[in-house]
């Protein structure tokens, strides 16, 4: 379950706990941002400002790093993140049909979040589970050998 920001105190305590765990070093920046991203589902602007203050790094540097890595997001995401692997091994196993049905079922284009805030649909490069392509990952759940017929059932498991 994702956390939402209630007060300024929330921001300070979450940043503090991440920095304490990983250390206030430049090499800890990516792990710190990853942890915060996991907490909120993305990197809220006020959190980045706080990280910038605590680590004494320019905010622009943080944005430059955060926008580089696929697992970090500077925009809010839905409650559930669907990653669809679009690399060749899944593609050869008819991944395109799965992708089509995903888009149709959700009414979303890649990168979009549904109006009710439930889903965010993104394409991904290889997820490393290629023996069972096509592969989709929803939050932390991995689904392999996905067929177009299975997609509605899989989506129905999430509220």
């Amino acid at each position: 379950m994702l956390t939402s920001i209630q007060s300024e105190q929330d921001v300070i305590s979450i940043v503090e706990s991440a920095v304490t765990r990983h250390g206030a070093k430049s090499e800890s920046l990516v792990p710190i941002l990853s942890e915060i991203n996991q907490e909120f589902g993305y990197l809220p602007g006020e959190v980045l400002s706080e990280v910038s203050r605590v680590l004494n790094m320019p905010r622009s540097h943080l944005i430059s790093v955060a926008s580089f890595y696929h697992m970090l997001s500077t925009k809010p995401r839905g409650r559930h993140l669907i990653q669809f692997c679009e690399s060749a091994p899944c593609h050869v196993m008819h991944g395109r049909q799965v992708w089509q049905i995903l888009q149709d079922e959700l009414g979303l284009e890649p990168g979009q979040t549904s109006a009710d805030g439930k889903w965010t649909l993104v394409t991904s490069s290889c997820l490393g589970i290629c023996g069972v392509g096509p592969v989709i990952i929803i939050d932390d759940d991995t689904y392999g050998n996905v067929t177009p017929e299975r997609v509605p059932d899989i989506l129905a498991r999430y509220v």
Binding site: Y69, E86, V92
Partner: protein, 557 residues
């Protein structure tokens, strides 16, 4: 191709042909049919197998028995004995003595089933990866003890050098040489970095090693540290590999408790510890200098080389960066010696290689086999034949940065040298097997989409070139490609190779180069006839790019 029991290969080099290989091949078919075994036994002609003293040769899998010279008159006896009675046809076997290096391993594994040779994956699936005692019971940490107590750092480097171990991440650089560079480099401290940012599409060998045998990597890194004079190691693991991260953390803490990590290991005065650095999703971070930038907390953009990480790596200090599979070989080599290791594989590419088998075969998965096996053997023996009895059209070796090879190259031994001679990259060991329903334009489009997405944007040839190449391939797949597009694509491919800053941009041209080289007619059909022969491309002619609308006159760079 259906699941089969045996595979018989007949040599068909010019000398074999002169000595009647065609007739042997024909009679094999006839005899097999006569015994009603033609559903279970496949017979194929293969090219030069690198041995010329006993031609024509017949090699039978999975037992890997080599017969030769086989005359047409011998065929009845051979089939009767080997396939019908199930024993070796006495007197027909080729002599052991003159086996050339390339097929010596065939003989070494004769009579063993399965014919896999596991060094890197020896313990995977056999031990409890979360229990260090299991690892220790299966020879674990013996190599570290041996290195620290009986060998000097120079001895360790020499042994790895003599073993002929080459990097398994894709480039195939000799590991011993890399270690020597770092050990001789000025600067302190030095670092050992294990590259576990496995992101090459179709590759998951490192994940299985880390999930199944995490201690082997810890032991290997400690040995590396001792050899090069480093006391700190980093494992850079991709963010998506949650289970592997968890297992590594557990393994490290167990190793610390039992004194296999930390200070004064085995009373030798040598200290070593490991930090796990978790990535956040970026293919380019598998490039060693981008990986180092990423550890330092920056965008993972590759540095200019030289200087190489061996002298200017993490924090500007000498660093050795090795792939997971590469160093997973190290403990076995130290334990058993370089000479033992050289028994496996070919003389120029010793050892084994882990392959992932994917795509249109009956069985997908992971195998570890000696270097030098051929694609045909992999598909028939481990892939259990093509799915739905389809025929092989092409294979993509080594992930996105590898090569697209046509079925005609399926008998080339898969080792670094043989592949380099035919202009093929062995890459990371992914083998994506594709049947006739695969369209080469569609495949190249998917690959270029990958590169355009993963390009870090630092250099223009790659940032713009991959984007433009994907745009052109999309147009071709929609049936609106022109002759000019093909010329542009050719030029883009050349320029990506020549001018890109790092391997990502350089190898992004490979799919284009390969489909032009091997499948030019099929590409031309899309452009000139507006037809996709495989029936995979939409060819609807309605493609309008959101990003490029109105810019169709843009020239490629």
């Amino acid at each position: 191709m259906k699941p089969i029991r045996s595979l018989m290969l007949v040599s068909s080099d010019p000398e074999s042909t002169r000595r009647g290989a065609q007739e042997v091949h024909r009679r094999l078919h006839r005899e097999i049919k006569a015994l009603d075994l033609d559903d279970e036994v496949a017979v194929s002609m293969i090219g030069d197998v690198g041995r010329h003293d006993a031609l024509p040769m017949v090699i039978v899998y999975p037992e890997a028995v080599i017969y030769g010279p086989v005359t047409p008159e011998d065929v009845h006896f051979l089939v009767e004995e080997h396939l019908h009675k199930g024993r070796i046809a006495a007197g027909l076997q080729a002599s052991d003595r003159e086996l050339s290096g390339r097929i010596a391993w065939l003989s070494a594994r004769r009579g063993t089933l399965p014919a896999e040779q596991r060094i890197v994956l020896a313990r995977v699936g056999l031990i409890d990866p979360e229990n260090i005692e299991d690892y220790v019971m299966y020879d674990g940490y013996q190599a570290l003890g041996k290195a620290l107590t009986t060998m000097s750092p120079a001895d360790v480097i020499n042994e790895i050098g003599k073993s002929g171990l080459k990097g398994r991440g894709g480039a195939g650089f000799p590991t011993g040489m890399k270690w020597r560079f770092v050990s001789q480099a000025n600067g302190y401290p030095k670092y050992v970095i294990c590259n576990a940012d496995e992101s090459e599409p179709g590759t998951f060998k490192d994940r299985l090693i880390l999930e199944g045998d995490p201690h082997s990597i810890i032991e290997a890194m400690s040995i590396t540290g001792y050899a090069v004079g480093a006391s700190q190691g980093y494992i850079y693991i991709r963010g998506e590999y949650a289970l592997a991260q968890d297992r590594l953390h557990k393994a490290i803490s167990q190793a610390r408790q039992l004194g296999f990590l930390g200070e004064n290991l085995f009373g030798s005065g040598f200290n070593f510890d490991i930090h796990v650095h978790i990535g956040a999703g970026a293919y380019i971070c598998g490039e060693e200098t981008a990986l180092i930038e990423s550890i330092e907390g920056k965008r993972g953009e590759p540095r200019s080389r030289p200087p190489y990480p061996t002298t200017h790596g993490l924090w500007g200090k000498p660093s050795v960066v090795n792939n997971v599979e590469t160093i997973a070989n190290v403990p076995s080599i130290i334990r058993n010696g370089a000479a033992w290791y050289r028994h496996f594989g070919t003389s120029n590419s010793p050892g084994t290689k882990v392959y992932t088998i994917l795509g249109n075969v009956n069985v997908t998965g992971l195998i570890e086999v000696p270097m030098g096996i051929t694609l045909r053997e992999v598909i028939a023996i481990y892939g259990k034949g093509m799915k739905n009895s389809a025929s092989l059209k092409l294979a993509q070796t080594g992930g996105s940065s590898g090569s697209i090879i046509p079925a005609s190259l399926q008998d080339t031994p898969m080792d670094f040298d043989s592949y380099a001679r035919t202009g093929v990259s062995l890459g990371s060991g992914a083998l994506l097997i594709c049947d006739e329903d695969t369209c080469v334009v569609d495949l190249a489009k998917v690959l270029l989409n990958f590169f355009r997405r993963e390009s870090c944007g630092k250099c223009t040839p790659c940032r713009v070139g991959t984007q433009r190449a994907h745009q052109i391939l999309t147009a071709i797949s929609e049936g609106i490609g022109t002759q000019r597009d093909l010329d542009d694509l050719q030029m883009l491919s050349d320029r990506l190779t020549e001018f890109s800053h790092c391997g990502l941009g350089q190898t992004s041209a490979v799919p284009i180069r390969d489909i032009f080289r091997h499948f030019r007619a099929e590409v031309d059909a899309h452009v000139q006839l507006k037809v996709c022969p495989a029936g995979a491309c939409p060819m609807s002619g309605q493609w309008v790019s959101i990003h490029w609308a109105g810019k169709s006159g843009l020239s490629p760079m």
